[in-house]
């Protein structure tokens, strides 16, 4: 194993630790934010999901190395994300009358 390569891995390890700390911080913020009244429950939901997405980005981006992955994987996940969004959005849309009622 080359010295250069070993150096890279050690750098990456340091990065992993930072990500880990950020995730712990994110967890604390999620819990605290859930008890802060933002005015409406929808807003609380939005904040919680935003924090969860940020944490998910950290896990996927750094632990799963998606930040520097091959094009093929991006393509696959892009398509999956699209169909997932379609599934969720269209199901919700077809029940739109129910969905809108929670904002009333």
């Amino acid at each position: 194993m080359s010295e250069h390569h070993a150096h890279e891995i050690r750098q990456a390890t340091r990065k992993y630790i930072y990500v880990f700390l950020a995730l712990l911080l994110g967890t604390v913020i999620t819990v605290v934010a859930a008890y802060v009244p933002f005015g409406s429950r929808s807003l609380n939901v939005a904040v919680a999901l935003l924090i969860a997405s940020a944490k998910a980005f950290l896990v996927a981006g750094f632990f799963m190395h998606l930040i520097s992955e091959k094009k093929l994987i991006y393509g696959l996940l892009g398509a999956t994300g699209f169909f997932f969004a379609g599934l969720m959005f269209l199901i919700v849309w077809s029940n739109a009358d129910q969905f809108l009622s929670i904002f009333r």
Binding site: M1, H5, A6, I9, R10, A12, T13, Y16, I17, V19, F20, L23, L24, T27, T30, V31, A34, R41, N44, V45, A48, L49, I51, A52, K55, A56, V59, A60, F63, M64, K70, L72, I73, L76, L77, A79, T80, G81, F83, F84, L87, M88, I91, V92, N95, Q98, F99, S101, I102
Partner: protein
């Protein structure tokens, strides 16, 4: 002829077979959990009332931290292999297995808590929630009728006032005696109790199965599977990486499950 690219990456894709495979598998997992999350949304917006505070936030937070920690140990284990250090790999990966077991143990404790918490409707129409004396698991009215096992009655400790949702962890009010004659319906807070509990048990149950499956594979790679390190270190490192990708995904799902089920 051997199958190409089991270890070395294919030049035009830059990937070895198993890595393509695991990402494809994860893509389908996204759709699986995605469908369940969609169901969650639909059930929630269609519900007359959505319960809050049924689950213990400190326990959930603890489990979140456990899973996040297991994610970092997995990635550090892989990095150790990249540095050629098998013993550190074993240390980290051993931690991962222990953390996974902790997670499952905590989760089953939470499940037990639900199956020993009861809803009862008396013959006079009174509806109560609370605990049975001795905390029996998952009883129904049929158990009350079975006098051989129970005796004539069992003491029921209702939760403190505060409604179905908030009463789960409150103090106990005046106990009453339940008999087969005065009970119309008795059921624990299992998945049948409400659509919230149904989706809670489905999502966390499926997630727990993923945790157990992942832990088994990690334990295999930690134990007998690690012999491959001597014969084919590169392939072994790949296996650890692929298995790690699955583990991070399981962690990632939990990151969404925790706020969605415990907090919102």
């Amino acid at each position: 002829m051997d199958i190409p690219h089991t270890v070395e990456a294919r030049p035009d894709t830059g990937l070895y077979n198993a890595k393509v495979g695991i990402w494809l598998f994860l893509a389908s997992e996204v759709m699986l959990f995605g469908a369940l999350f969609s169901s969650y949304i639909l059930l929630r917006v269609g519900a007359e009332a959505w319960p809050h505070g049924l689950l213990s936030v400190p326990i959930g937070t603890f489990n979140t931290v456990v899973l996040i920690t297991s994610s970092i140990t997995v990635v550090l284990a892989w990095a150790s292999l990249k540095l050629g250090d098998l013993s550190r790999f074993k240390l980290y990966q051993g931690c991962t297995v222990l953390l996974a077991l902790t997670f499952v143990a905590v989760k089953s404790f939470e499940y037990r808590d639900k199956f020993t918490h009861y809803y009862v409707r008396l013959q006079d129409g009174t509806e109560l929630n609370g605990h049975l004396a001795g905390n029996p698991l998952n009883w129904t009215a049929a158990n009350l009728a079975d006098t051989n096992r129970v005796g004539a009655s069992i003491t029921f400790h209702p939760d403190a006032a505060g409604g179905e949702g908030e009463g789960a962890h409150g103090g106990h009010a005046e106990p009453i005696e339940l008999t087969a004659a005065n009970v119309a319906k008795l059921e624990s807070w299992g998945p049948w109790r409400s659509t919230y509990l149904a989706i809670y048990f489905t999502l966390t149950g499926l997630h727990a199965l993923h945790v157990i499956g992942g832990a088994l594979v990690i334990a295999y790679l930690w134990g007998p599977g690690s012999r491959m390190w001597r014969s084919d270190p590169e392939r072994f490192t790949n296996r650890v990486e692929v298995c790690g990708l699955f583990w991070h995904f399981v962690d990632l799902v939990w990151i969404f499950l925790f706020p969605v089920l415990y907090l919102l």
